[in-house]
């Protein structure tokens, strides 16, 4: 299996990532130090984007990567297993239990797998989840993280040390890594990537609007999506006010 060193990670090109420096930190924790990670941060900070960026980075490192949003699969346990196995290019894709999937991964010792799970808190948040998301599922996650050929990262709002099911509590031992605050240079780069036509002043206004907000990335993404369609230099102030109102309306 490929062994990673700090220097290698430092030399990787992470400029396409929303948080280039944090992405490297994350890779060092995950691949060099071998820590299974619980990426934490409030809603709207860009955890999902970080997972997507990590997925791209890991793919470039020729690792087999799977990224799943647990929210999408909370009612369809087997569909989660299918998606995971497809993304990991496992020879078999139909599994009845997570343990079977673990088995399949376990048998491919020559390959390294990166498993990225978004919205892990779903396990705690909904009573209506597929009943197979139970204590055994959490135990399997724990087992998964201890496997030599698996790098596991989960994202949740808060550090998820325990998952409480109806009759029992299950523990997760993941290394907590809090997502870094979105820096102005990172916001600026994202604006340049998505909306290069914005003037310096308007980029600056957008940066300020975003950096003062509790859901910085979510807002930034919304504003840039709007700007891509509606941006007009002379009407920017009015448009920005409108977009912010729309954002509040959509999120209220």
């Amino acid at each position: 299996m490929q062994k990673f060193e700090n220097e290698d990670i430092e030399n990787y090109d992470t400029t396409f990532c929303l948080r280039p420096s944090f992405s490297k930190t994350l890779l060092v924790e995950l691949l060099v130090r071998g820590q299974s990670i619980n990426l934490t941060g409030d809603t709207g900070q860009g955890k999902s984007r970080q997972l997507e960026d990590t997925k791209k980075l890991c793919k470039e490192l020729n690792l087999r990567v799977a990224l799943v949003d647990l929210k999408e699969y909370r009612l369809q346990y087997t569909f989660l297993l299918k998606t995971l196995s497809e993304q990991l290019f496992l020879p078999k894709t139909d599994f009845a239990h997570f343990t079977d999937l673990l088995d399949a991964i376990h048998l491919q010792k020559e390959n390294a797998f990166v498993i990225l799970i978004d919205n892990l808190e779903v396990l705690n948040d909904y009573q209506s989840n597929d009943k197979r998301y139970d204590a055994d599922f959490v135990s399997s996650l724990n087992l998964l993280k201890d496997k030599e050929n698996v790098y596991l990262m989960c994202a949740s709002r808060e550090w998820l040390k325990k998952v409480v099911f109806s009759n029992e509590t299950s523990l997760l031992n993941l290394h907590r890594l809090t997502i870094s605050m979105l820096r102005d240079t990172e916001v600026e780069n994202e604006i340049n990537r998505q909306c290069p036509q914005l003037t310096t002043t308007h980029r600056s206004k957008l940066r300020k609007t975003v950096s003062d907000h509790t859901q910085a990335y979510k807002l930034l993404n919304f504003l840039l999506t709007e700007a891509k369609v509606e941006y007009e230099e002379k009407k920017f102030d009015k448009l920005l006010t409108k977009w912010l109102k729309d954002y509040d309306r959509y999120n209220s």
Binding site: N6, G34, S139, D146, N173, S180, R183, T201, S204
Partner: protein
């Protein structure tokens, strides 16, 4: 696309396209006329001849035509509206009123007004034109005569064109004297006319002037940096109340603002204050923009010795120091030094910001000035605050890099995962006592077939299992299976155990093992299979079952089969020399009921996986290769009592701290910081597990509180107390009949978060 051929709004042409433009300049910007004339170095005679040409060919036709048109509109309006009949009679001369009554229709009225008034109108007009001719000949082309002549030509042309005259009059006055004076003069003129001539004339002039001024203010409200009255008119020396608008635009387009400033400084001496105000605004905005990339080259000051706008003498040296600190920091490659230098740079910025907080002392003249009253320093303050914000973000990034690139110490510690051979060997402590006990028991006792590795959670049992092959050496082969979340039934357990064995020895079975439905039979087959291979190879195989408690939940589904299965397991383990079973877990056999494990494995050899001793703890701490303050390691050991996970967590953060601060020297305050971050938090993965999982019943918590508060433990809780003692969380002092929590960190945590 940018229009590269766009006209420069600040272009200052001093050569008119034609003489019409020259006349326009005379009204709006006499300086241009002066410069134009100066270029030709005309003699007095040439200047006057040139004037005469302009006068007769341009000025006279223009004035006559425009006055006639305006006048005609004026009398038409009077005729249409029948004004003398609908306004007070005092406004009109008596003979006009008398005639007016007799006139039957509009055309007749217009005809009457035309002939009644044309004489006086054109006599006034010609008087005005004569005055222009005289003054023009006197002053030549240098603008003053011309513009003065123009204004008088309009104003004297006719009193009856008061309103329109008022417009032009005020415009002309502005070109001559400036906005403030024009307004005052227009007001005075209208009053004089009102009293000396007629109220109508006075009102006309006043309304005309007022309309002009309204136009000016309205225009100023919509002023743009590149299109405003300051560019159009030379004589504005009164605020147009456009400062805020200009400031806003300067912040949006500082480059344009500075072009406008250059224009004002070059050609509009009367607007010097506005120019300096906008200079400060634009410069501060450029600073703010430069903050994002910390571009120190753009931290340039533009100082003016202008009352109300002079910069403090301390600013320039401070700015130089800031730039120097930043440059030094950025040129340094070693991350820890770079970070320290960056802290120095931020401190300089903070100092500068402090100096910007000192408010300007405003005189009464500053307070009434539309430009000087503005707190322009705040724009620099905002810019520096932006620099501080970005600099702090950059510092965070450097700290992140320092932690990541590990310039001081490599961070080998893990905070959650089990240790894996060949990856985490550095932090795997080869516990000497345990190692000796394990090897001794396994090597020397042939009959020992069932081992029980028991220990608290997070104490390193799984890591130990993973490192067992290394610990035990070549004579033993370890086949391990972690049951945590890994099995779905007893059959599945057996199947996976067999598969692990096959994988370990690279065995391939021709067909998949068909597991008998009876668990005991299946176990029999498995034992036989493994035993035969072990005999063949003459090796001893240890089947290590990690988290063995998970098997219980599947066994309990069929008690009869479970009892038979455990019985068979005991039987085979006793009669199979080549296979040893090793159960690894937290719970004692006695705790697992239905089936009761204790019945079957009374002879199991228990091996306690406990905390590290002091030597092992120090060894783990020293992996960091840091220089600890004397006594620090001892204190860490005293606080953790050698708890492996706690030491790993604390050391992980200590290494981060060392890398961030760029020093190998670790003092106690660093350890305290690490404890605060990694241990004394509501959820840390060690103490909270103890509190929520180990102390699963309220009685357990009550026992712990009673110990912490030195109260008597209720007798009904004795069994629970005993359990915690056996697990190794509570120490018993038999002599004093007292109890203490073994790990001080647990005690502090429970008091804080329990």
């Amino acid at each position: 696309m940018t229009d590269t051929t766009a006209k420069n709004p600040f272009e200052y042409r001093t050569t008119p396209k034609n003489n019409w433009e020259l006349i326009w300049w005379a009204v709006t910007d006499r300086n241009k006329v002066r410069e134009y004339v100066a270029k030709f170095e005309l003699t007095k005679k040439e200047s006057r001849l040139h004037f005469l040409r302009i006068y007769f060919f341009y000025l006279v036709p223009l004035v006559c035509a425009s006055i006639f048109i305006l006048w005609f509109i004026y009398i038409s309006l009077i005729a249409i509206t029948d004004l003398p009949n609908i306004t007070p009679s005092e406004w009109w001369e008596k003979d006009i009123l008398a005639d007016w009554v007799e006139i039957p229709n509009f055309l007749s009225k217009l005809n009457y007004l035309f002939f009644k008034n044309i004489g006086i109108t054109f006599s006034n007009l010609f008087a005005g034109l004569a005055f222009v001719l005289i003054s023009g000949l006197f002053f030549g082309l240098e603008g003053l005569g011309l513009s003065l002549g123009l204004s008088l030509a309009f104003s004297l042309s006719s009193s009856i064109f008061s309103f329109f005259i008022g417009l032009f009059y005020t415009l002309a006055l502005i070109s001559l004297f400036g906005l403030l004076e024009s307004f005052i003069l227009a007001l005075c003129t209208s009053l004089i006319l009102a009293f000396s001539e007629s109220l109508f004339d006075g009102l006309g002039i006043f309304l005309g002037s007022f309309t002009t001024l309204i136009f000016f203010f309205t225009k100023s409200h919509f002023s743009r940096l590149d299109n405003n009255l300051y560019i159009l008119l030379e004589g504005i020396n009164l605020s147009l109340f456009a400062e805020k608008r200009f400031i806003k635009q300067s912040q949006e387009n500082p480059e344009l603002a500075l072009d406008f400033v250059d224009f004002l400084l070059s050609y509009r001496r009367k607007n010097y204050n506005l120019a300096v105000l906008l200079t400060h605004t634009a410069t501060a905005t450029l600073w703010k923009e430069a903050a994002l990339n910390l571009d120190e080259k753009r931290l340039v000051l533009r100082n003016f010795k202008v009352r109300g706008f002079t910069l403090s003498e301390t600013w320039q040296p401070k700015l130089t120091e800031i730039k120097s600190k930043l440059l030094t920091a950025e040129q340094t490659t070693q991350i820890s030094i770079k970070k320290d230098l960056f802290i120095g740079f931020i401190k300089e910025l903070e100092d500068f910001r402090q100096s910007l907080l000192i408010p300007r002392q405003l005189t009464w003249r500053d307070k009434i000035s539309m430009t000087r009253r503005i707190d322009w320093q705040k724009y620099y303050r905002e810019a520096i605050e932006e620099w501080i914000k970005i600099a702090k973000q950059k510092l965070e990034e450097y700290e992140e890099i320092a932690k990541r690139t590990e310039p001081i110490s490599r961070n080998f510690y893990l905070t959650g995962d089990a240790l894996i051979p060949n990856r985490n060997d550095t932090v795997f402590m080869n516990r000497t006592d345990l190692h000796n006990e394990l090897t001794l028991k396994i090597h020397t006792t042939n009959s020992i077939a069932v081992l029980f590795l028991q220990g608290q959670r997070r104490v390193g049992k799984t890591s130990l299992v993973k490192f067992l092959p290394k610990i035990l050496g070549r004579r033993f082969e370890v086949v391990s299976l972690d049951l945590q979340g890994n099995i779905t039934s007893v059959e599945d357990f057996l199947f996976k155990l067999r598969r692990e064995f096959n994988t370990k020895f690279s065995l391939t079975e021709k067909t998949d093992w068909e597991i008998p439905q009876n668990w005991a039979t299946a176990l029999h087959e498995l034992y036989e299979y493994i035993g035969n291979h072990a005999k063949e190879k003459d090796i001893k195989i240890i089947l290590a079952i990690d988290e063995y408690e998970y098997l219980q939940q599947h066994l309990s589904k069929d008690l009869a089969q479970a009892q038979e299965f455990l019985g068979a397991l005991r039987h085979f383990s006793q009669h199979q020399d080549h296979i040893s079973l090793m159960f690894v877990g937290l719970k004692f056999f006695s705790e697992l009921q239905s089936p009761n494990w204790n019945e079957y494995f009374v002879n199991a050899v228990p091996i306690r996986v406990d905390y590290f001793n002091q030597e092992e703890s120090f060894k783990l701490i020293e992996v960091s290769n840091l220089d600890f303050e004397e006594g620090a390691k001892e204190k860490i050991f005293a606080l953790t009592q050698g708890h492996p996970a706690l030491i790993q967590k604390i050391c992980y953060e200590i290494v981060n701290i060392a890398n961030t601060k760029g020093s190998k020297n670790i003092v106690w305050s660093d350890v305290e910081k690490a404890l605060k971050v990694m241990v004394y938090v509501s959820v840390n993965g060690v103490t909270d597990i103890f509190w929520t999982q180990t102390c699963e019943l309220p009685e357990d918590k009550e026992v712990v509180w009673a110990i912490l508060e030195k109260r008597e433990i209720p007798k009904t809780h004795r069994l629970r107390l005993r359990r915690l003692i056996e697990y190794g969380f509570i120490l018993e002092n038999e002599e004093e009949n007292s109890y203490t929590l073994r790990v001080p960190i647990f005690e502090k945590w429970v008091k804080k978060f329990g």
